[in-house]
Each structure stands twice: as C-alpha cells, then as structure tokens.
C-alpha cells in the first residue's frame, strides 16, 4: 500500500477512533467507516497539514450534490489518496 494511504489511514484511525485494521483502500469513508461531515473536517485538517495541500472539499461536495460526481470518486480511500497524490504533484509542479 502507498505511503499516502498509510498516512491517511493513520489519520482516520486516530481522528475517528476506528481500528486501523478496519481501514482498507476499498473502504468508503462515509458508507463503510461511517465518518460524518464533522469528523471529515478534522480528517481534512490533518490531511492538509500532513501533505501541505488543501483538499477541495467544497468543490467535491458541490459536484456530488449536482450529480456530476459520485461519492465513491472522492470518499473511497484509494480514490481519495489518488486525489491527494494529484494535489501533491500539482503543488510541486
């Protein structure tokens, strides 16, 4: 598993008090791990700090609400980590 996933999984485990071994790349943060929007703010804060990025939560939420994207695209952890990697790469570009 990627370093990004391991960091994100550690953050989720600590922030939401979820057993680390329950957090998989295929886990859906909302549907499987039952992380609510307030807990996700804490996760976003920790992710932003850990990677020096700014997760575009508002944009993602708007896209989901508008039916332009599915929650899986952003909240299944392997997809979330891929987007984090993209943001890290964009930052360094």
């Amino acid at each position: 598993m990627s370093d990004t996933f391991n960091t994100v999984a550690d953050i989720i485990a600590e922030t939401c008090d979820i057993p680390r071994d329950k957090i998989k790349p295929e886990s859906h943060a909302i549907d499987d791990l039952e992380i609510d929007s307030l807990d996700f703010l804490d996760i976003a804060f920790a992710v932003d700090k850990a990677f020096g990025i700014k997760l575009p939560l508002e944009q993602w939420t708007q896209e989901v609400n508008d039916g332009k994207a599915s929650t899986e695209q952003y909240f299944v952890l392997k997809n979330l980590c891929a987007r984090i990697d993209d943001l890290i790469a964009a930052k360094g570009a």
């Binding site: 703010l41 997760l55 939560l57 508002e58």
Partner: protein, 158 residues
C-alpha cells in the same frame, strides 16, 4: 460584554489580516441575569461563555479575512481549558489566530487572559458557510462597527 445577548467582545485592539490574528478586549459586567443562576451568591462567568468569547474572537478575524462574504459557524472545540474562575468586573484580553484555512472550514487557536495571566484556551473548528440571510450579515457588520473592527482594512483585502 452583554452576556444575555451573547455580545462577548467590547472592542478590537489589534487585527492582522496577513497572519490571521486578532486581539480583543472585554469587561465582564458587574451585573447580569446570568449571575443570578450561575451561581447565586457566587457569580462566575460560565465556562461555555468563555468558549463562546473565544469563538467570537476568532470569528471576527475569519469574517474579516473573507470580507464578510461568508460566515463562520462554530463546529468543534478541542482541548478547551478553563484555568480559573472569571468573576464580574474583570477585564479580559482575548487573542485568536487562524492556524489553518481549509476548503469550507478553518481552525483557530484562542486564548483568554486576565491581568496578563492565562484564563482559558482552546482550538476551535469553524464551518465557513454562506450567510443564512442578508439581515444576519447586516447585523454582523453593525456589530463590527460597534467593536471597532477596521472595516477599511477588511475592504482592502486583495
């Protein structure tokens, strides 16, 4: 300070939009209906109102940073400490500093001091949302003028 009306801030002393910090002052009223219940014969500012005071302090700098285009709502309180009692007539100095601005949220670190000594501190999380109604924005702008928030500096934010 008017506890009954949740007017926790008397005046803005310092505001730095560049580093997202603010310092404000408030004087605890000598009389308040709050003290009739908290507690009879032993008046103390409720700890939750000290948290509210810190939240409003950080809220003003967040409002200033986004030029009153969106409104911060308290969403989380972390590591809140109430270090000693606060009694009627005390002069409080409250500092707030934005430690992170995320997408649709912000985190701030706040401290209350009296006589130069720490009284209370906390890390607060805010959701940053559209104003629920234009009247709310107008009320906050009026309150900003009352406490001396430098609106010119706010309007100059690039």
């Amino acid at each position: 300070m008017k506890l009954e009306y949740f007017q926790m801030i008397d005046r803005v002393v310092e505001l730095s939009l560049d580093d997202g910090s603010i310092r404000v002052e408030s004087v605890v009223p000598t009389e308040s209906t709050v003290f009739e219940g908290h507690f009879p014969g032993h008046p103390l500012v409720p700890g939750v109102l000290l948290v509210e005071t810190m939240a409003q302090t950080a809220g003003w700098v967040l409002l200033a940073r986004n030029r009153f285009e969106r409104m911060p709502f308290l969403a989380g309180v972390r590591s809140a400490k109430l270090r000693r009692f606060v009694t009627p007539g005390e002069r409080l100095s409250i500092q707030g500093r934005i430690v992170h601005e995320g997408s649709g949220f912000a985190v701030a670190s706040c401290q209350v001091r009296a006589d130069g000594k720490p009284v209370s501190d906390a890390e607060l999380t805010f959701r940053i949302l559209p104003f629920p109604h234009s009247d709310v924005r107008a009320d906050l702008e009026a309150a900003a003028a009352r406490i001396g928030l430098p609106l010119q500096a706010v309007s100059d934010v690039g």
